[in-house]
């Protein structure tokens, strides 16, 4: 981790912590410090982190709702159209629109569409897939971020970002190791 190396474009600076508490604390401090464009990385979800970073994305829920409604309309509409308009047939003496019989399919389609919305919506909002990301340039990050270490990265495009100041700030948080993240 030689830090003197001249860096072309800088994505930000990254600090490594080795337990959850430190990370959460660091995140709180960073937020308090006025940093906004920073991101915490952990091998499993830490709910306190969401709080201290004030993360709350309602769009996923909204997408799911929309998905569900679309599914419901599709299901009901399809069946009604097929049975009453496209080719009305006398089935077992039932009327063309014997709607109680249409409930199961409607339900299934509701669920299906909602589920699609949830998953693809989530990945979409997370900007995944994104196989390449600057943070992976940090070797230790690539090794440990998904296993047993915790990271806080403050991005260069944060208005308050100042290379040296931010570095020292991060170190002050008791980071085990602070390193530049190249673009």
């Amino acid at each position: 981790m030689e830090t003197k190396r001249p860096v072309a474009a800088l994505y930000g600076v990254m600090a490594e912590f080795d337990d959850t508490t430190a990370l959460v604390e660091a995140a709180r401090r960073a937020y308090a410090e006025g940093y906004r464009k920073f991101e915490a990385y952990s091998p499993f979800p830490i709910h306190d982190l969401f709080e201290v970073m004030h993360i709350r994305d309602k769009r996923v829920g909204l997408l799911v709702l929309l998905g569900g409604l679309t599914g419901m309309c599709t299901g009901l509409g399809l069946q009604a159209w097929v049975s009453a308009i496209a080719y009305p047939l006398n089935i077992a003496g039932r009327p063309y629109l014997s709607w109680p019989m249409f409930i199961p399919v409607t339900f299934e389609l509701t669920i299906l569409f909602a589920a699609f919305a949830a998953v693809f919506g989530m990945f979409g909002l997370n900007g995944l897939p994104m196989p390449y990301h600057p943070v992976f340039n940090v070797e230790r990050f690539a090794m440990h971020a998904s296993q047993d270490r915790f990271y806080l990265a403050i991005e260069a495009n944060d208005p308050k970002f100042d290379r040296t100041a931010t570095r020292s700030f991060l170190q002050s948080l008791g980071a085990k190791d602070v390193s530049d993240v190249e673009e």
């Binding site: 080719y87 047939l89 006398n90 089935i91 077992a92 003496g93 039932r94 009327p95 014997s98």
Partner: protein, 1046 residues
């Protein structure tokens, strides 16, 4: 599987266990494993018993099938127009020709439907008194017989194919040799001949060869009746008129399903018993019989006794009604006189109360003495002339067949027979009495000629084989049971180079090699000019010329005025003068031609004396098989697969025993027993039949064939199931001294119905006439019908036509002609025994059969219920089909769209009537070319994996609708006849438009005995039933009456 374990289970279960199926009782691993050895799936898949559908073909077929539904291209097809189109033919529309299908020489009048020159369906001839539009099963199935790929294909001499010319010269030389000896070594063997033209040819042959002899043999014909008739001189043959009979007593007679008159008899009998708005009375039937028959099943009172005891009963009855009876044994001493006495008293009282309106019938399989008794009783009751008329025989030169054959065999044995010509495919090597040893004696004949449809057991031992021409391929004439001369005309050129019997016979006349057409026309030209016949046109006037007469005869299919009733003569066995001359034919020729009259042979003497009853034992009763008769239909898959009445067993013969006897001997259905009888032995799987005489065993002819063809040949383990192995000439129909032994072997039987009790569900509803008169609601009360308002949905309206069907099970005799008619009309495949055993038969209309009564008293009631698709308005099948392959038409038909069906079988599961049928394998025979032209072009040929079912013959409905629309009118009532309705001899099935209040079906459905099966499910079946009404004699009201459980 040992019987003790079955017995223990039997003991455990109670009630009518003996009607439960073998399988139900014997469901043990061993039995299963055994079954699998019997029907290894592999074997049945790789080499099909019918030997046609081989694996590879099937594979290709089913792969080809993959295309049928999927988006593959239509294969390119050709159109091949005529070069010169026949005048009367409209391509795409069938033509109908009147013709006749002879059965044991007697004509069954038919109309044959022909599509572009292929006969495809046989209907009864509605104009003809012997049919009135109906036919029996055999006649229906004749269409398959025509196209049977196993038919004899060529004239052969010692196995080498020879042209007709060579055969002709061979016969001519044989003839010229015989000429010198007056034909001393020349013998002819044929069945009974009723054909005037053939009789004349025969007469001329016999005239040309005075020493030659003509022998008649039909293994199933009734020598007893014939002997009795001969004894009466010229006028001994009875014709019954059930439309006049109020009380009918049968002495072991199965007049409803056996005998040439049965079709017409069923009609009259049914009419006489049908309760309608107009008719409130019905006739009463007492059946005194040995083997249970369908006639017995219709009886209001049925008394079972040994066949040998019938005569005694008849004698007592005669005594009771004061009819002169020849001396002989009286009713059995063993039996408590009370029962017999009670019955005799009651019946005779009833008979005397209906003098002139009653009728006593002797069974064909009873000796002459019983026929004589019946006749004298009828005379005493003044029935002769009203319910029965005795007239001349329709057979030319009737004679005792057993004696005639014995005579021939004696001659063969003595080496007197140099040339033997066997006409008309009666297969004596298989069917002659064993004691004659026909096969051995045949070897002593220098020149044997066999003429028949198949290369059968006899053909294999003869020098010359000449293929017979199927009735649908040949010209000819024959008389129906009522004497009407009926014309047979060809609808198609002989498929297998066949020649009719008369054509073969002419080779011995002065003008050999005449074609059937010429012979026939020549005969009737002369007969028209002057003969014993009184030929009249429909309006009773004589025809102006022969052509008018002949055109009419061919159009009608029969010659009016030739019926016995219209004064038609006995079929003359004589040569008519070539030159038209007034007056009767020369008696001299008559004299010359009369066949050797044989003295009344042993058979006509009461068998129990001849049958050496000394050694006691059981009584053995012989019967023709209900579906393959004496084996002449063995190779007809339709008939083989037709469930046999009362047992519903297919493809096999069974020996019938009374359940009680079975218990005594520790026998279960399917146990193979060995029958020892007068030094002969045969084997047969048994079947327990309630109502069977306790001390008798009935065996059926027609099985154990070895040279019948791919369909009819018996499997190795069934070759001994041949009743002919036991038949001796002195006891053709029954006799004492039978010993049976359990072999320990089991033989799997394939039955289409295993369970014959109603389990309190009353699919068949029954009441006595009295009960019904008192309270017509009694029928309705036997089931519950939910109110039509019981639904959350609005009701579907049916404007226009609203098709429905009413089936009168009071009239249904269970003859199953409807099943065969349906098979023929709707291209229904044969599936084979293994598939039937697995429960995969394809019949669209089945005839359910239920017993009621208890084992011990023999007053068993049997009911028959034809079950087609109910065409439910709330069809459970439609609701569950995922692809809408079965939906409701605007006329209320439950349509089945084969090409849409994916084969989930859900519809069948959900059908409470289980009338749907599924092509589990590729059942339809796609490979046998000769079967293509047989199929009905108006009905799709279903393929593998497709559900199918009764459509109410929608092809006929559509044709009728289109015709009606083209004429801007509505379809008339009765214009559309479903195949089952059209064939039904007792008019039990009526189909029509329910929206027309005047249609016959609407009227029937108004009757209070009209009910729907399982209406409690709110399926709203369009097919409903008219309940059975029985008319018991209060004095004999059987205890078991109430056991039609409800």
């Amino acid at each position: 599987m040992n019987s003790t374990s079955i017995k223990s289970r039997l003991a455990g279960s109670h009630g009518r266990v003996y009607w439960r199926s073998l399988g139900e009782l014997a469901d043990t691993p061993e039995f299963r494993e055994y079954l699998h050895r019997e029907f290894p799936e592999q074997a049945s898949e790789w080499n099909d018993p019918k030997g046609r559908r081989q694996f590879l073909k099937l594979m290709s077929a089913s792969l080809a099938l993959a295309g049928v539904g999927a988006c593959t291209k239509q294969p390119t097809e050709e159109i091949v127009p005529y070069v010169r189109q026949p005048e009367d033919l409209v391509p795409g529309r069938p033509l109908f020709f009147a013709s006749a299908i002879p059965f044991s020489g007697v004509a069954h009048p038919v109309l044959v439907e022909s599509h572009m020159g292929h006969p495809t369906k046989i209907e009864g001839n509605p104009e003809h008194q012997a049919s009135l539009g109906a036919t029996d099963t055999f006649t229906q199935a004749a269409i398959l017989g025509l196209y049977d790929p196993d038919r004899a294909g060529a004239i052969t001499n010692r196995g080498e194919i020879k042209p007709w010319g060579l055969f002709l010269s061979a016969m001519l030389s044989a003839g010229s040799q015989q000429k010198g000896r007056q034909g001393g070594g020349l013998r002819f063997l044929s069945g009974p001949i009723t054909s005037p033209s053939m009789a004349e040819v025969m007469a001329s042959v016999l005239a040309a060869f005075p020493q030659a002899k003509w022998h008649q043999y039909d293994p199933m014909s009734s020598d007893g009746a014939r002997a009795a008739a001969l004894a009466e001189g010229a006028v001994g043959d009875p014709i019954y008129h059930f439309d006049k009979a109020d009380v009918v007593v049968t002495l072991d007679a199965d007049f409803l399903t056996c005998g040439p008159g049965s079709v017409r008899y069923q009609k009259d009998f049914a009419t006489q018993r049908r309760i309608t708005e107009e008719r409130k009375e019905m006739s009463r039937l007492y059946a005194i019989e040995s083997t249970p028959t369908l006639t017995g099943a219709k009886a209001d009172h049925r008394l079972a006794m040994k066949a040998s005891e019938i005569e005694g009963f008849g004698r007592q009855l005669a005594g009771a009604v004061g009819a002169p009876a020849p001396a002989g044994p009286s009713a059995r001493a063993t039996d408590p006189a009370s029962v017999i006495g009670k019955w005799v008293a009651a019946i005779s009282k009833d008979l005397q109360a209906h003098r002139g309106r009653s009728l006593v019938i002797a069974g064909d399989y009873q000796p002459a003495s019983v026929h004589t008794l019946a006749r004298s009783i009828n005379q005493a009751l003044g029935n002769v002339g009203s319910t029965v008329t005795y007239g001349p025989s329709v057979e030319a030169g009737p004679t005792d067949h057993a004696a005639s054959l014995a005579d021939l065999v004696r001659a063969m044995d003595a080496g007197q027979v140099e040339v033997l010509v066997m006409l008309g495919g009666l297969n004596p090597v298989y069917s002659a009495p064993v004691d004659l040893k026909f096969a051995d004696k045949l070897k002593k004949v220098n020149l044997s000629v066999y003429h028949g449809l198949y290369v059968d057991e006899t053909a294999f031992l003869c020098h010359w084989n000449v293929p017979d021409a199927h009735p649908l391929e040949s010209w000819g004439d024959a008389r129906s049971f009522d004497g009407t001369v009926t014309i047979t005309q060809p609808l198609i050129a002989p498929l297998y180079d066949g020649h009719s019997a008369v054509e073969v016979l002419t080779t011995f006349t002065s003008q050999p090699d005449r074609r059937g057409n010429a012979i026939l026309k020549d005969h009737w030209t002369r007969a028209f000019a002057g003969g014993p016949w009184t030929i009249r046109s429909a309006d009773g006037q004589p025809f102006k010329n022969f052509d008018a007469f002949w055109r009419r005869a061919l159009h009608d299919g029969f010659i009016r005025g030739t019926a016995i009733a219209d004064g038609g003569p006995a079929t003359p066995l004589s040569v008519m003068p070539a030159v038209p001359a007034a007056g009767a034919p020369a008696p001299t020729t008559q004299q010359a031609a009369t066949p050797p009259v044989t003295p009344p042979p042993a058979t006509t003497t009461p068998p129990q004396s001849a049958a050496a009853g000394a050694q006691g034992g059981l009584e053995l009763i012989f019967r023709p098989d209900p579906t393959v008769w004496d084996g002449r239909f063995s190779n007809n898959g339709w008939l083989q697969e037709l469930p046999k009445p009362l047992t519903k067993v297919t493809w096999d013969a069974t020996a019938w025993v009374n359940p009680q006897l079975a218990r005594e001997r520790g026998l279960e259905d399917g146990d193979v027993i060995e029958l020892r009888y007068r030094g002969n032995t045969a084997r047969m799987p048994i079947f327990r039949v309630p109502g069977h005489p306790q001390q008798s065993v009935t065996v059926f002819f027609g099985y154990g064939r070895q040279k019948a063809g791919n369909v009819g040949n018996a499997p190795k383990n069934a070759e001994a199931f041949n009743a002919f192995l036991l038949r001796t000439s002195d006891a053709p129909w029954f006799g004492n001294g039978l010993e049976i032994a359990k072999t320990g072997e089991r033989y799997p039987l394939a039955a289409t119905q295993e369970h014959h009790v109603m389990e309190g569900r009353a699919p068949v509803r029954v009441a006595t006439l009295e009960e019904y008169r008192k309270d017509p609601k009694i029928i309705e009360e036997q089931g519950e019908t939910p109110p039509r308002t019981l639904t959350m949905y609005p009701e579907y309206k049916y404007e226009g036509y609203k098709w429905g069907m009413a089936i009168d099970i009071g009239s249904c005799t269970g003859c199953s002609a409807c099943t065969i008619a349906c098979v023929a009309e709707n291209n229904i495949p044969i599936v084979g025994k293994e598939e039937v055993a697995m429960g995969r038969e394809m019949h669209w209309i089945r005839v359910d059969h239920y017993f009621a009564g208890t084992e011990d008293d023999n007053t068993v009631e049997a009911y028959h219920q034809p079950v087609p698709c109910m065409q439910c308005e709330n069809a459970p099948c439609e609701l569950v089909c995922p692809v809408a392959a079965t939906t409701h038409s605007s006329e209320g038909l439950n349509d089945m769209v084969y090409n849409r069906c994916v084969g989930t079988r859900y519809c069948s599961n959900n059908c409470p009537y289980k009338v749907r049928r599924f092509n589990f394998l590729l059942y339809q025979d796609w490979d046998t070319q000769s079967l293509y032209p047989m199929r009905n072009p108006d009905v799709s040929v279903r393929s593998r994996g497709v559900m199918e079912k009764c459509t109410y013959c929608v092809q006929r409905i559509n044709q009728a609708r289109i015709d009606a629309k083209r004429e801007d009118r509505a379809i008339r009532d009765g214009e559309v006849l479903t195949a089952c309705q059209q064939v039904c001899p007792s008019d039990a099935i009526v189909f029509g438009n329910l929206n027309d209040p005047n249609s016959q079906v609407s009227k029937l459905k108004l009757q209070e005995r009209n009910y729907g099966v399982l209406e409690t499910l709110n399926t709203r079946p369009r097919t409903t039933y008219l309940a059975v009404l029985r008319n018991p004699n209060p004095e004999l009201e059987p205890a078991s009456r109430s056991t039609t459980e409800h």
